[in-house]
């Protein structure tokens, strides 16, 4: 295990946001270390507003103003690791069709067959030429997931992939994610404030404290990826995790502190 180069190694000593003049800066992350093995699916679980999105943005290279380091294993051909990012809102370009949105992230010569295949896989073959405004929330998310898988990412980042979807859609999306993952195995890091969500998908949960976030526990999930966990199994595991970590994650988003105030820097506004 020690000889395996981790797919991701992140050591954040501190990440702070400047506030309005006079106020002390908001510390979003403090001493947050994370190591993810290749092919592992890891869920970052923590209360709302604890800095999970901030952490993902740092890993994705979107936020470089932090104290610490992030290392991603390079590809076999020596290129830097490719990152597929499924944002909390789908972030499809509204002025481009579904097809064009995916083609945008691909080299032109490879786009056509690959997109057709992916759209079929996510059940949106017929939506190819629709604009995002014509899609439902669930459909938009599936396009965003297809886009992230299209680049054959070495690391797939997902920010609350199931939030604000109904139970059936979440179930479908989970099946879809696992199907895509089996066809194109990759390392996955996703964040959620919902323990159930984390348990249905992840190999390992990483529990985060309230802001400033740091790791307070690791929970291996041994449900097996081909096994469709029943809700009773999930509940059982959830109760167990809650028993051990009640004081820290609470399991309920309401227990977390409020979102960082709007006066924080623009990057802080979008979690």
């Amino acid at each position: 295990m020690a000889s395996v180069t981790p797919a991701l190694l992140a050591e954040i000593r501190e990440k702070r946001y400047a506030r309005a003049r006079g106020a002390s800066p908001h510390v979003a992350l403090a001493s947050l270390s994370l190591r993810i093995a290749p092919g592992e699916i890891v869920a970052l679980v923590g209360p709302s507003g604890c800095g999970k999105t901030t952490f993902l943005n740092i890993v994705a290279g979107l936020d470089r103003e932090f104290d610490g380091q992030v290392r991603l294993a390079a590809r076999e051909d020596g290129d830097p690791a490719r990152i597929g990012y499924v944002f909390q809102e789908p972030r499809l370009l509204p002025w481009r069709t579904v097809y064009e949105n995916i083609a945008l992230v691909l080299p032109p010569q490879r786009a056509d067959p690959l997109i057709a295949e992916l759209l079929k896989a996510v059940g949106l073959a017929d939506a190819r030429d629709l604009y995002p405004a014509q899609l439902s929330v669930g459909m938009s998310r599936r396009v965003a997931i297809a886009r992230a898988f299209a680049i054959e990412p070495d690391l797939l980042l997902m920010d609350e992939p199931f939030v604000s979807l109904d139970h059936d859609t979440v179930e479908q999306l989970r099946e879809l994610l696992l199907k895509l993952w089996h066809a194109r195995p990759t390392t996955v890091l996703f964040v959620t404030h919902d323990l159930r969500e984390a348990l249905v998908l992840a190999d390992r949960l990483v529990l985060l404290s309230a802001s400033p976030a740091h790791v307070v526990g690791h929970v291996p999930v041994n449900l097996g990826r081909n096994h469709r966990p029943s809700s009773s199994e999930i509940e059982l595991l959830r109760d167990e995790v809650l028993r051990q970590h009640r004081e820290l994650i609470g399991g309920a988003p309401a227990m977390g502190p409020l979102e960082p105030p709007a006066i924080a820097s623009p990057t802080a506004g979008e979690r």
């Binding site: 994705a60 490719r82 990012y85 809102e89 972030r91 370009l93 002025w95 069709t97 979008e270």
Partner: protein, 261 residues
């Protein structure tokens, strides 16, 4: 001109007016003109029919199409230069606080500089050349384009930029697919008002320092007090500019907005 099937949308800028109403409005204008001219019976206000006859004559002898063509070429050249340079300046100033602070006063100065001053200075410094003429017109328009595009650049959605960056789609694709579509409404606004301003200033530039073009012709007829031909040129030019709006701007704008639900 031929009427496209979606005529109601074409005329949408005239709040809710149908094509028939528009034609009626133009017809009314001509009737009022004709009646007034007949009543006054002065050579300083020729009738609509007299202007029409002059228009036909000048088309037949080739002078009007030639001068119109020359002026139009200058309009297009100055317009393109102003849009490209103004857009570039606007985007840069909208994205960089430092440059914005540094050059904002320049922009204000340029905005308030009278067109005539710019034209005269251009002729004095660079001679009565085609480049000076077109440059002077462009400089008149550049600050307004820059200010409009600066607003657009400031309003760029950061979320899309983050998406483009995390997927590493490259600068060119980011510009073309992510940034420009967000700027199109601002570009169209600048282009609309730009065309209207540019063609008016081109006439002054021609009047002051060129020996051909509509502005030069109008000066000639002004010296002869030939109002009929001045009006003939005016009508021809207004019609051409309106045609550009209908045939180029509006289809382009509809195309750029086709994704909107």
């Amino acid at each position: 001109m031929s009427v496209p099937s979606d005529a109601p949308r074409v005329s949408s800028w005239l709040v809710g007016s149908s094509l028939a109403q528009r034609i009626a409005s133009v017809a009314l204008f001509i009737v009022v003109w004709q009646v007034t001219a007949d009543a006054l019976h002065s050579r300083l206000l020729p009738s609509a029919t007299a202007v029409l006859i002059a228009l036909v004559h000048m088309c037949a002898d080739g002078s009007l199409p030639l001068n119109l063509g020359i002026t139009l070429a200058r309009v297009v050249a100055a317009f393109v230069v102003a849009m490209v340079v103004g857009t570039a300046i606007g985007i840069v100033m909208g994205r960089s606080r430092t440059l914005d602070v540094l050059f904002d006063s320049w922009l204000v100065l340029l905005l308030n500089l009278p067109a005539l001053v710019i034209i005269v200075l251009a002729y004095v410094w660079f001679g009565l050349t085609e480049a000076a003429a077109i440059g002077a017109v462009a400089v008149n328009k550049i600050p307004a384009v820059a200010v409009t595009l600066r607003e657009g650049a400031r309003a760029l959605e950061r979320n899309y930029a983050d998406m483009a960056q995390s997927f590493r789609i490259g600068r060119w694709r980011t510009l073309r697919h992510v940034i420009m579509p967000q700027l199109y409404p601002y570009i169209f606004a600048a282009a609309r008002s730009g065309l209207a301003l540019v063609w008016k200033i081109v006439l002054i530039v021609e009047l002051l320092g060129m020996s051909n073009g509509v502005g030069f012709e109008i000066q000639l007829y002004f010296q002869q007090f030939d109002v009929t031909r001045i009006l003939a040129y005016t009508i021809a030019f207004v019609a051409v500019i309106q045609l550009i709006e209908w045939a180029i701007f509006q289809p382009l704008e509809r195309r750029a907005a086709r994704w909107r639900p």
